[in-house]
């Protein structure tokens, strides 16, 4: 993807070019007046963000084309799992502007954000786990954020540029479903729109549920990552088996009519990093703002989740450890 939109006239100079809106090819283009009016060149915020986040060792996006598959649940518990090591500093950024779930899931609903000389102070869940969400900026829990895309992108830019995370080992970003303004802005702000740069985002974990209707949307998300050169750490399949607490009989609530996420990964050449069962106690923990890793350590979901977390950390540490700082080249052990 470049600054030349797909449906641009032939010889479009690119929306970020100095000649944007003024070149011969621009005549008749519906975007001409916008291109000629807007400031040229890369957004200065990109460099500010790069500097602000230069002390963040690893950045992970949690994505899904589909809603309600467990992205926020996954994000919050990935953060909890990593933060179990007191030596690790973890940050969670919630860019789901319309439906911010992270404050409830991390037990920080009702908290407010303070400003200091060095920026916005994130809200601390525990000593080594901080978070930021639009949820903290709302007057009341019922307030709706009814914003068009441009305004949402503006807030995301502010989150990335102004939050004073200090040093972090991991910044995990929870996203809304889809492939729209939030996702584009996030990736562009973190990579400078220079897809393939590779230094902005370690990778993305894609969460899905087993059924075909979810996988259709997830395939689109995988497509989005490929278009924007975001490496895919792997796909996690949530809400697989349900085991009845009374009779212990397993059931499949969301049938894998097309083989589920594992088959999809095989087909698309992506890594399947694991499956999680559907345990109602997980939803309860999330509603109560607690970590299910601590609340129900006997759940089969905990063991499955920890295995997934290890793979995610393994991916990031391998990538980060071999990085050549001068050339930006990354040497990866091929599995």
């Amino acid at each position: 993807m470049s600054a030349v939109p797909e449906n641009a006239p032939e010889h479009c100079p690119g929306t970020n070019s100095e000649a944007a809106g003024k070149a011969e090819a621009c005549a008749g283009c519906p975007n001409q007046s916008i291109c000629s009016a807007l400031p040229k060149g890369p957004d200065p915020a990109v460099e500010e963000i790069r500097q602000k986040l230069s002390n963040v060792k690893h950045k992970i996006l949690v994505l899904s084309g589909k809603g309600g598959v467990g992205k926020s649940t996954f994000t919050s518990h990935l953060a909890h799992a990593i933060a179990e090591d007191p030596q690790k500093q973890v940050g969670v950024l919630d860019v789901d502007i319309c439906g911010p779930s992270m404050p409830r899931m991390l037990g920080t609903e009702g908290e407010t954000v303070h400003q200091s000389g060095s920026g916005w102070s994130p809200v601390y869940v525990r000593d080594n786990l901080a978070m930021m969400s639009v949820g903290f900026l709302l007057g009341s829990l019922s307030d709706a954020v009814i914003w068009r895309g441009a305004k949402k992108s503006g807030l995301i830019k502010q989150f990335l540029r102004d939050v004073d995370w200090d040093d972090l080992d991991y910044l995990i970003v929870d996203t809304p479903p889809g492939t729209s303004d939030e996702h584009l802005s996030l990736v562009q702000m973190l990579t400078g729109g220079n897809y393939g740069n590779g230094s902005g985002i370690d990778g993305a974990v894609i969460v899905t549920t087993p059924q075909q209707v979810a996988l259709i949307d997830v395939r689109k998300e995988i497509n989005f990552c490929r278009k924007t050169d975001v490496k895919i750490i792997g796909v996690a399949e949530n809400m697989g088996e349900f085991v009845c607490p009374a009779c212990q009989k397993p059931s499949t609530i969301f049938p894998r009519t097309t083989g589920g996420a594992e088959k999809m990964c095989e087909e698309l050449g992506e890594t399947f990093i694991g499956g999680l069962p559907l345990d109602p106690r997980i939803a309860r923990s999330c509603d109560e703002g607690k970590s299910f890793l601590e609340e129900v350590p006997d759940s089969p979901a905990v063991k499955a989740f920890r295995a997934i977390v290890e793979k995610v950390i393994g991916f990031c540490e391998k990538k980060g450890g071999a990085k050549d700082n001068d050339t930006g080249e990354v040497m990866m052990d091929t599995a």
Binding site: M1, G65, K66, G67, G68, V69, S72, I97, C98, G99, S101, R104, M105, L141, S142, D143, A144, V145, I146, W147, R148, G149, A150, K152, S153, P176, P177, G178, T179, S180, D181, H183, L184, T209, Q212, V213, I216, D217, R219, K220, E221, I222, N223, F224, K227, T228, F242, C244, P245, I253, L278, P280, A283, R284, C286, D287
Partner: protein
């Protein structure tokens, strides 16, 4: 937008939260109304994740044009259930629609103005989760057409209901808001039973 004038009733399916069953419910409501002898149109304005074509087994179908505009893709031979979705415009089913708001708004406006629904009794509009461009554009565009109302879908857990409270604010143009109890439809009633505890949600969870 003359084509909307011939539509007798407009119902919008909403939810702040994703994955609660909006598309599933939109399809079942449409089928239920059809079984009651009505002519139905379904407009899928979830541009990033269009599920309606799959649910009606219409994947791969093309949109045809007539003198009056775009013809919906019909589910049945009698043409009593017509569907419009961006899913029909994608050359590859895996293709991601990576659009910012303005482009999404233009597409939705085109769907609302150019689709020749003819004399459908009910137009059911399926929306993506959230309270953003798609929802604002639909509500603004429907203002002159007095939509009947919105149905808010939720699942019982608090994080979904929290999303509902915000969604209520997006329907200033709708005269009534109906809250559907999840047990009415198979999939979500299973969710409620399998929650296992006696959380006494009626399932609507919204006062």
């Amino acid at each position: 937008m003359n084509h909307l004038s011939s539509v007798k009733h407009v119902i919008i399916i909403l939810s702040g939260k994703g994955g609660v069953g909006k598309s599933t419910m939109a399809v079942q409501i449409a089928l239920g109304l059809h079984a009651a002898g009505k002519k139905i149109g379904i407009l899928d304005v979830d541009l990033c994740g269009p599920s309606i074509p799959k649910m009606f087994n219409l994947e791969g179908r093309d949109i045809h044009q007539c003198n009056e505009g775009w013809l919906p893709v019909y589910v049945d031979k009698d043409q009593h259930i017509g569907v419009m979705s961006i899913g029909f415009l994608l050359s590859d089913v895996d293709e991601a629609v990576v659009w910012r708001g303005p482009k999404k708004n233009a597409m939705i406006k085109q769907f609302l103005s150019d689709v020749y629904w003819q004399d459908v009794d009910y137009l059911v509009i399926d929306t993506p989760p959230g309270t953003s461009d798609e929802h604002i554009t639909v509500m603004e565009s429907l203002k002159g057409y007095n939509p009947d109302g919105a149905i808010l879908i939720t699942t019982p857990q608090a994080s979904a209901i929290h999303g509902e409270k915000g969604e209520g604010r997006t329907t200033p143009g709708a005269s009534r808001v109906h809250h559907l109890p999840p047990p009415a439809v198979g999939g979500t009633s299973e969710n409620r039973h399998r929650n296992g505890d006696n959380r006494s949600t009626t399932g609507t969870g919204h006062g």
